[in-house]
Symmetry: C2
Subunit: 234 residues, 2 copies
DNA sequence: AAAACTTGTAGTCATGTTGACTATAAGAAT
DNA sequence: ATTCTTATAGTCAACATGACTACAAGTTTT
């Protein structure tokens, strides 16, 4: 088996297995993805999905959390496994199968702290991302497709919004994820019928037009919908 | 790293990585799953999901095909990866992460040929399956949940039917997968509106009642629906 | 041969959902 | 005061849905 120097848990990792993660965020009505600049290794100074090696005695889901925290400083997020990517030549020099995750978080809640083997961490507009190393482009595509599908039958998109938000923000979130345009009155009608949103007794502040009502989730309905699934077709 | 004897590609496999597969079939209006009886190893003589080790120079998808063919004799099927299961203690004695696949096939098209490390291979009614070893019960649950979700937005369920089939067979397939009952006329109306089915100029034979029309897929529409996705809500 | 039985297939109807659109409200900026 | 922007309410025709009824085309029973 080919070997190579890597400085994380050198003696303890599962040599042929890594984790890579697509972290989605939503800011200024755009869908964003968090990339890290590698500080060392084969792709030093290139932007790539955050990832790393799984320790021998570590649950893979735990490993994904650990890597994200160490590389980017992001701690609280919705994290879900996508699938394993295992083409023979996906990684140079040796055989490495990677388990891909995707995560949803709120960029404004965190200060990015590049750490470990990352010299920088930044949010990119998803449409601007090109030329990722290895098969990270493929992983990103797969992640986005999964997100597009998932927001239609689970209320997970809400993990990307601040706690209190307007209906337009919610609509723009769907528009950004699905790359479509929606009719405002119809969107309102549809989303309100689900009883998922509860109006706060608060309005937007600091906007130069009529202030919109702020809403938050009814967590009971949220949990129920998450469990039962629902269909949100446009 | 803990070691152990296994007699498949002993020197060439990725030690910590295996593949397990849930193969679905549909027979006598019931949803079935193919299990194999292990001929050796830790769970000798127990029924379990077919699976095995990935070779060092083998694409994981190719490995899944190979294992299914070797263990069960089943060659042509729809095969899709689910995800990796990687709890630390899921496998005794050493750390093994498994990549789970699920497959759809037509039981009547194949003779089961247990081979390799399997002494027997048989179709089981999915509701009758209990006490699978390792975390195979969890993998089976996950597979079924994925199948339930997937048949609602892709025409994949059709991989389980014979080439020519009646509308009732199709309806019973949905009923078996989703564990629901459907109204016959309404089901017809809905499925026919999709233009997915083309009537063969043939009727059922050998039935003791009015013979139903046989249908097959319009492969063009089938491919288009597979690509675009659709919603089949009941 | 007629009646009873089983499954297939067509159609009805009230209700609900959808998409496209109009209208008005509530502010801020000019 | 007028204009601009976004919020929010409501209308309407077209379509989809779920619950049924009715009838057709065969087999089996009597």
């Amino acid at each position: 088996m080919a070997t190579e120097n890597h400085n994380i848990f050198t003696s303890e990792i599962i040599d042929a297995l890594s984790i890579d993660c697509t972290i989605f965020g939503f800011q200024e009505s755009r869908l964003k993805v968090l990339l890290v600049k590698h500080a060392e290794g084969i792709i030093k100074n290139q932007w790539a999905l955050p990832g790393g090696w799984v320790a021998y005695n570590e649950d893979i889901h735990v490993a994904a959390y650990r890597l994200l925290k160490d590389l980017t400083g992001v701690k609280e997020l919705y994290l879900e496994q996508l699938k394993a990517f295992g083409e023979v030549d996906r990684y140079p020099k040796k055989r490495v199968i990677t388990i891909a995750y995707y995560a949803l978080t709120r960029p404004e809640n965190y200060q990015l702290i590049p750490g470990f083997t990352a010299s920088d961490a930044r949010w990119f507009n998803i449409e601007d991302i090109a030329n990722l190393p290895y098969d990270h482009g493929q992983i990103l595509d797969f992640s986005w497709r999964r997100l597009k599908r998932k927001v239609k039958y689970a209320p997970i998109g809400f993990n990307l919004l601040p706690e209190k938000f307007t209906l337009l923000q919610l609509q723009e979130l769907y528009e950004a994820i699905l790359e479509i345009r929606l009719d405002k009155p119809n969107f309102r009608r549809k989303i309100m019928k689900m009883n998922l949103l509860v109006p706060c007794d608060e309005k937007q502040i600091g906007v130069s037009h009529r202030a919109a009502n702020l809403y938050h989730f009814d967590m009971q309905v949220y949990d129920k919908l998450t469990e039962d699934g629902f269909i949100f077709e446009f």
